[in-house]
Symmetry: D2
Subunit: 348 residues, 4 copies
C-alpha cells in the first residue's frame, strides 16, 4: 500500500533522528529553556527577518492555534476565519472551548479576502447594537489553505493592511509553510511573508519533523504572557529540547525548504498526469496537496494499492480525493501512481 | 414619539405591578424557594400538559439560553441553530463563553428543517474523522423565530422526531411564545407545543412582565443539576419571588395568552395597512413583529413620530425595518400609524 | 415568623416602587441607554468623587463579580481572594466557569492583608517556574466582608498601595456597601473608599432595591469593552431603566445611606442585647450582620418565631447563626427579639 | 554538571529510540489508529488486569489531567485534590481554563484521606444552600504524590470506597507510576492499583519515554467521547504511532517496571547516605524523589557540580531541595554525589 492520503504518515527526516540520538543521553533543562531551542529560535528569527520576534515551540497544530488565539483575544472577541478554515471545522471546537467564537466567513475557494474582512469589521463598528455581537478581534488564515491554495503577495498585503488599520492581529497558520513558500507559484519570500504577519506558525509535523510547530510572535501579544498560556494549554513539552533540536536541524542549512520544494515537485508530477488524463480537479493547487474527482470505479481499483483521503461527498459517480505528497514521498511511488493512472485512463 | 421598535419598551402589565406592591413587605425565602414560584411552576406545568417537568425562573433570555445549553451538552458537543438564531448572532458569544460551538445552519427564512438537522447528524456519524469535529448535541430554535415566523405543527413534529431518533434534546426558545401560540396562524396548542420539546422557555420580558423567563425542563437534563447551573451563570435572582409572582399573575387566568393575542391583532392591523398600500414586506410574519421595506424618504419622515428598528442594510433606496407591537401597545398609537401611512401612500 | 436570616427577604423601599409605577407605561430605550440609567450613573459618579468613572448597572451579585473579574484578567491570571470570599465559596464556581482560578488566601477573620497580597505577588515573581502557576492578576475583597467586618482606612490604603505598585486592579465588592460605610465604626467616606478602588460595586439588592448592582469602573479595564461583557454574561437587562430608576431613587437624596445607617442601628441593638446576656459572638461585626453562638435549646425555641441563618457547623451544644437586619427590618420586630432573648436569658 | 533536579533531563531509553528508528519510514495511519497504539493498549490492559478498559495515549501530563477531568465532570462540578496537588498548583490553571474549580483540601503531607473526602461530600450534600457551591464531582490524587509519597493499599482502598459510595470517579495521576509501584515500600501490585481506580494514567515522560502518558479509562466516562476531548484539548498527536511504539516497548517485557525499580534503588542509596550524615529530610519518600534540607553553604558548594531542584523557601540557613533519580541516572553519578556528601559531612 502506497499512502498518499496525508503528509504525516512517516516519522522524521533521518538527520533529525540522528540528532536526537546523539543528544539522547545529554542532560538538558526542561520546558524549552535549552540551547537547542534557543538556537532554533534564533535561526527562525534570522531566516524570517524578524529579529525582535518571540519564537516558541509547541507540539501540535490544534494546541498551537488555540494558544495563539487565546493570547490575541479579549473575552468578547472572536477570530475571523474562512468557513473551511482548520479552526472552524477540524479542531473539535478547541477555540470555543477557550471561550471564543470563530467568525466564519463564506468563501469560494477557502481564501479570505481583504474586502470581506474590512466589511465585517466596518459593519460591526457601525452597528448600534454591536455590544450584542462578538467583536472581530483577529484574523486567522492558513498558508497554504486547507485546499492547498496560496494567497498572493498582493492578497496577503491587502489583508495585512486591513488588520493593521483595524488594529487587529493577523495570525497565519503555517502548518504546511514549507510546501507553500517553496511552491513555484508562491510570489513571497519568507521575510516578505513574515513581514505581513503579526504572528505565524512554522509547521514541522507535516514537513519533516516527528512533531512540532514554531510560533513566531511579532508583537501580536505580550511576550511575557506566552509561556503561561503554553503551559495552561497543556502544550509545554517537558523535554523541550526535542522540539528545539528538530527545528535547529530544519533551519540550520535550509533542510526545511529543500524538503518542501521536493514534495511540491512530486505533487506537480501527479497533477500534470491527472490533467493530461482529463481528470477533473476542483482546486488548482500549487502545493503538495492535489485534489481530484475520480470515478468511483477507478477509485475502487486504485484503493487496492494507493491510499488517498476522501475530500467531501460523492457526487454523480465521482468522489473527490486529496492526493498528498510529503518530504518522505518516494519518487518510485509517484512513478507507480502515474503509471497506473495511465493504464486506467479510460476508467478515470 | 410612538415607539414600535421592540416589545420591551414599557414595564409590566398593571396587574403584575399591583401584585408586587401588595407582596413588597412580605418576607419571602430567597432564590426561588417561595410559594409564588412554586405556584407559578405548577400553573405552567398544568397549562403545558407537562406535569413532571421542572420549571425554574431566570431573569433574562441570554442567561436562559446559555444555562439551558450548558445543561444539555457535553464539552465536545455543540448546539445546532439557524444562522440567524439569537444565540448565533445576538448574544455576544455567550454560548461560546461556556465552551460550546454554535453549529449554525444556513436557512432561507430563519427556520431550520428536520431534513437539514438529520443531514448534519448523519454526516457527522458517517465521518471517519468525526472526532475532529464538534458533535451535534442538541437543537436550538425559537418560536416565533427572529423574523416573527412560526414552525407549523408538522414542521416542529418532524424536527422533534429527528431529535428523539438521534437522542439529542430539542430546546425551543419561547422568548415571544405568547405572540406565537396566540397567532391565528399557529396550529399548535400549548400542550401540543410542549409535547414536542425536551426543554423550552416561556418568555415574560417581552410579554407583559418586568422581566423573567420560565424554563420548562421536560427531561433534557437532570433536574437536580439545574439550580447549580442557574447560580453559576449568575442567573439566580435573590428575590426569586419577584419572578414567581409575575408568572403566577401571567398564568393564573390566561393573562399571558390574552396579551399575546391582543398584540398580534394590532400587528395584523399594521400588516394589512402596509399590504394594502403595497409596501414590500420581506417576511410574511403571523406574529407581533412585522417587517417592511420602506422608502428612505418615507422612513425619514415617519421617524419624526414613530420609532422602528432597522433590520438589515439599506438597499436601492429602501430600508428594512421591524415594526413591533406588544402587550402595551395602545390602539390609538396603531390608529395613528395607519392613518399616517395612508397619508403618505405615494411616498412609501 | 420574623425573618432575620438575611437582608433580601422583602422587596424594595416604597419610594422605589412608586417610581417604577409612575414610569411603567413610559416608553424607554433598552439595555441601559435611558435617561434614568444615565442620571443614576451621574449621581454615583458625583457621590463617589469619581467623575471619570464608567457606571453600569447589572442585576445580581454573582454576574457582577464574574463580569468584572473577566474584564480585569488575562487568561493565565487569577483573582486573589480571602478563602471565605463570596467568589471563592458561594458562587458555584462562576469565576472558574469563565476560565479563571480564585487564588484563595487563608485569613483569621475573612479579611485579606496587604502583606499577604504582597507576599503572594513577590513569591510569584521570584519563582523561576512561575509560568507553571496562575499569575495573580487582581485582588477581590468585599466591604463589608462575609462576616460583616470592615477594612479600616489604613488597611484598605495599604492593600490599594500594593495593588498599584504591582499593577493589578483592586476590585471591592460592595454588595452591602451601604451597611458598611454607614457603620459608626467605618472610618471611610464614600469618596475616600472610591479613591482606593480600581473598580467597585454598589449593591442595591440588599440595600433597598428590588435588585441591582452598580459597577463603578475607575480604570480597571477599558470602558468600551464592558457592555459586550455584560451582554456575554447574560447580565444586560432588557428594561435597563428598571435598574436606572432604582439607583436614581437611592442616590438622589441619600436614601441609600439613610437605609444603611438605620439597619446598622437596629443590628447594634440586637448585638448589645446579646452581649449583655453573655451570648458568645464569634465576630465583632460593626455592620448589619451579627453572629451569635446560641445554645441548641435556645435556638430551637427561638426558631418557632424567628428565622436566623445557620453559619457553620454546630459545636458543643451551640450553633452559630447569622442575625441580619436590613433596610426593611421593623423596630417592633427587633423589640420582640430582644424581649424574647431577655426572657430566655438562662437558656441562651 | 550532574543533573539530579528532575526525572526528565534525558531523552528515552535506547530501545525506544531503536524502535522509532526502525519504524521511521513505515507509513502509519494517524491519530492513534495504528497497530502499535492498539498493541500498546492491549499490553496495558493485560498488565493492569483491566481487560475492558479504554487506553489512549496523550503527549504530556497537563493535557492529560485537563482532558480526563473535563471528561469526568459536569459544568457545576469540581475536582477534589490535595492543596499541593499538581493540578492545584503547577498547571497554570489548566483545569480552571476548562471551567472547573479545583476543590483543594489541606493535608499534612500532600496525601488526601478517605475521611476528608467523605467529610467534604457529606457537608456538601447536607448544605441547604449547596447549589451555591461547586459540587464535588471526582477525586484527583497522584501516585506517587508530589512529595514522592505513596498511598498504602489500605489508604487507597478507603478512598476508592468513598468515591464509589458517593458515585464520583477516582482519577489517579500516575506520571511517576513506575517509580511508585516498584518501590519496595509499595504494597500494591499493578492490578490491585488499577482495580481501585476509575481512571488512571501511566506516565512515560518521566519513566523512560521521550514523552507520553497513557490514560486508562475503566468506566469513569463514556469511551466514545474521549477521542473528541483529546482532539479538543490539542492533545491528539498526528503521528500517534510515536506514542504507541514507545508504550509497546515499555510494556512488552517489563522495561517500564525495570527502569522504575532501578531508579528507586539509586534514590535509596542517596537517601541512606543523607540519613547517615544526619541531613534533615522533610519527607520520608519511598520513591525516586528524595528531599533534603541542606545548609546554604553546602548547597552552594554542591551546586558547582550537581543540579538539584529548590523545593520551597529557605529557612534558618537551610534550603529544601529535591534530589531526583530517573531511569537514566548513572551509577557513577550517584557514587560521585555520595562521595562528595561524605567529604562535606561537617558542612551539610
Amino acid at each position: 500500500m502506497i499512502r498518499l492520503e496525508c503528509d504525516y504518515t512517516e516519522g522524521a527526516h533521518p538527520r533529525i533522528l540522528e540528532r536526537i540520538i546523539s543528544e539522547n543521553l545529554v542532560q538538558n533543562p526542561g520546558y524549552g529553556e535549552d540551547e537547542h531551542s534557543y538556537r532554533a529560535a534564533e535561526l527562525i528569527r534570522t531566516a524570517s527577518g524578524r529579529p525582535e520576534a518571540q519564537v516558541r515551540f509547541l507540539v501540535g497544530g490544534t494546541q498551537t492555534n488555540a494558544a495563539v488565539i487565546s493570547a490575541c483575544l479579549r473575552p468578547h472577541e472572536g477570530v475571523i476565519s474562512a468557513e473551511a478554515g482548520h479552526i472552524a471545522v477540524h479542531e473539535t471546537g478547541a477555540v470555543e472551548s477557550y471561550g471564543h467564537k470563530v467568525l466564519a466567513l463564506p468563501t469560494m475557494d477557502g481564501k479570505l479576502t481583504a474586502s470581506q474582512i474590512e466589511a465585517l469589521c466596518a459593519a460591526h463598528d457601525a452597528d448600534p447594537t454591536k455590544a450584542h455581537q462578538v467583536k472581530p478581534g483577529m484574523v486567522y488564515l492558513s498558508y497554504p489553505t486547507e485546499n492547498g491554495l496560496l494567497y498572493t503577495k498582493s492578497e496577503l498585503t491587502a489583508i495585512s493592511a486591513v488588520c493593521r488599520r483595524r488594529g487587529i492581529p493577523l495570525y497565519v497558520d503555517g502548518a504546511r509553510l514549507g510546501y507553500g513558500l517553496m511552491s513555484p507559484k508562491s510570489d513571497l519570500t519568507f521575510p516578505e511573508f513574515a513581514a505581513l504577519c503579526d504572528v505565524f506558525s512554522v509547521g514541522g509535523t507535516k514537513v519533516g519533523a516527528l512533531f512540532g510547530e514554531a510560533v513566531v510572535n511579532c508583537g501580536a501579544f505580550p511576550q511575557e504572557e506566552f509561556q503561561y498560556l503554553i503551559k495552561q494549554h497543556g502544550a509545554l513539552l517537558a523535554k523541550g529540547w526535542l522540539l528545539g533540536i528538530q527545528f535547529e536541524t530544519l533551519f540550520e542549512d535550509g533542510l526545511y525548504w529543500e524538503m518542501g520544494g521536493r514534495a511540491v515537485t512530486l505533487a506537480f508530477r501527479i497533477r500534470d498526469a491527472l490533467e493530461e488524463l482529463g481528470v477533473p480537479m476542483p482546486f488548482d493547487s500549487p502545493t503538495n496537496q492535489q485534489f481530484a474527482l475520480l470515478s468511483d470505479s477507478a477509485l475502487r481499483e486504485l484503493a487496492r494499492d494507493f491510499a488517498f483521503c476522501p475530500w467531501g461527498p460523492r457526487e454523480d459517480g465521482r468522489t473527490p480525493v486529496r492526493i498528498c505528497t510529503s518530504w518522505a514521498t518516494r519518487d518510485e511511488d509517484v512513478d507507480a501512481l502515474i503509471e497506473r493512472l495511465h493504464e486506467m485512463k479510460d476508467q478515470l
